[in-house]
């Protein structure tokens, strides 16, 4: 009986360690992805895995993306941020997603297979490392 109790206590200790490690890893991930990322200047849209269009974040536009399944996602760029204003998808997750502007941030519409990602295009005046 005493052995069993000790075993249970060990298990609970392991539970706590496991949860702590997971949360720590997630916090590191969040810091890396959200806090230390710089703002991007360009929005890349892919549809069904293929490139659909590239838009500058500095220009306010409204673009209707006609999806592969006959649906629609309305992409809006305003004040340097991009968001999905309305969509035909049933879940509406893409519409609920907060505006993106940091490098690498993305809005994904799974049902319509549309991915909106913020990237950083070279402006031309920045030095090209590869060339």
């Amino acid at each position: 009986m005493g052995d069993n109790k000790k075993n249970n206590r060990n298990k609970i200790r392991n539970d706590i360690i496991f949860v702590a490690v997971l949360l720590f890893a997630a916090v590191v991930g969040i810091l890396y992805l959200f806090v230390f990322r710089e703002s991007g200047n360009t929005v890349k849209v892919t549809r069904g895995g293929e490139l659909y269009g590239i838009y500058s974040l500095s220009e306010d536009i409204t673009e209707d993306i006609h999806t592969v399944n006959g649906g629609l996602n309305r992409l809006v760029i305003k004040d340097g941020k991009a968001f999905v204003d309305s969509a035909s998808c049933p879940d509406g997750i893409c519409v609920a997603h907060p505006p993106v502007f940091r490098n690498g941030e993305s809005i994904v519409c799974l049902p319509n297979k549309v991915v909106v990602t913020v990237i950083s295009e070279n402006d031309g005046d920045s030095p090209d490392i590869i060339a």
Binding site: D15, L23, A26, V27, I93, C94, A96, G104, V108, V115
Partner: protein, 169 residues
């Protein structure tokens, strides 16, 4: 023979319960409108319970049936492939961790919840041919861990309190 009928009835009941919990989860969805894909994983209470009470096979069955029924009732075929990927990975990890016997039901539930999200995201990456879903991964790891603790506590309570009335389960 009689036992077999009882067993089928019991697993049917568990499937129904898991289905109701999935529905409750769906109703709670509007509470977290800004976090995409967030789910408590409430049906996992039943899966954990079955895994510890009846073993892996009934848990796999109920988990699978639940996913099929949920996607027929509330979802679509696309959503089904995601949930199947998540459910499969989550089930596998929970079975292995239970065998290893290093953690309690709570730890196993947390691992199951997090793996459910990871499986879904991996499937989405595969279908969308994109690797830009890392954002979802970190957010869903936090929510999945917290939800997994709550689900695990519920599950372990259920397991403890049904010990006395073992006639039915």
């Amino acid at each position: 023979m009689k036992n077999k009928a009882k067993n089928v009835a019991f697993l049917g009941l568990c499937t129904a319960l898991a289905l109701i919990l999935a529905y409750v989860e769906l109703l709670l969805q509007p509470l977290f409108p800004t976090i995409p894909g967030i789910k408590m994983g409430l049906p996992n209470i039943i899966i954990i319970f079955l895994l510890y009470k009846r073993g892996a096979v009934p848990a796999i069955w109920v988990s699978f049936l639940r996913m099929v029924l949920v996607s027929i009732l509330f979802g679509n075929v696309m959503a089904f492939s995601y949930s199947l990927a998540g459910g499969f990975l989550s089930m596998l990890v929970m079975i292995v961790l239970k065998r290893l016997n290093l953690m309690s039901e709570v730890g196993v539930s947390v691992a199951g919840g997090v793996c459910h999200n990871i499986g879904q995201i991996l499937m989405a990456m595969l279908l969308l041919e994109t690797v830009e879903l890392g954002y979802y991964m970190v957010i869903l790891t936090v929510t999945g861990t917290i939800a997994g603790v709550l689900v695990g506590l519920c599950g372990s309570m259920l397991i403890k309190h049904t010990k006395k009335s073992s006639k039915y389960c």
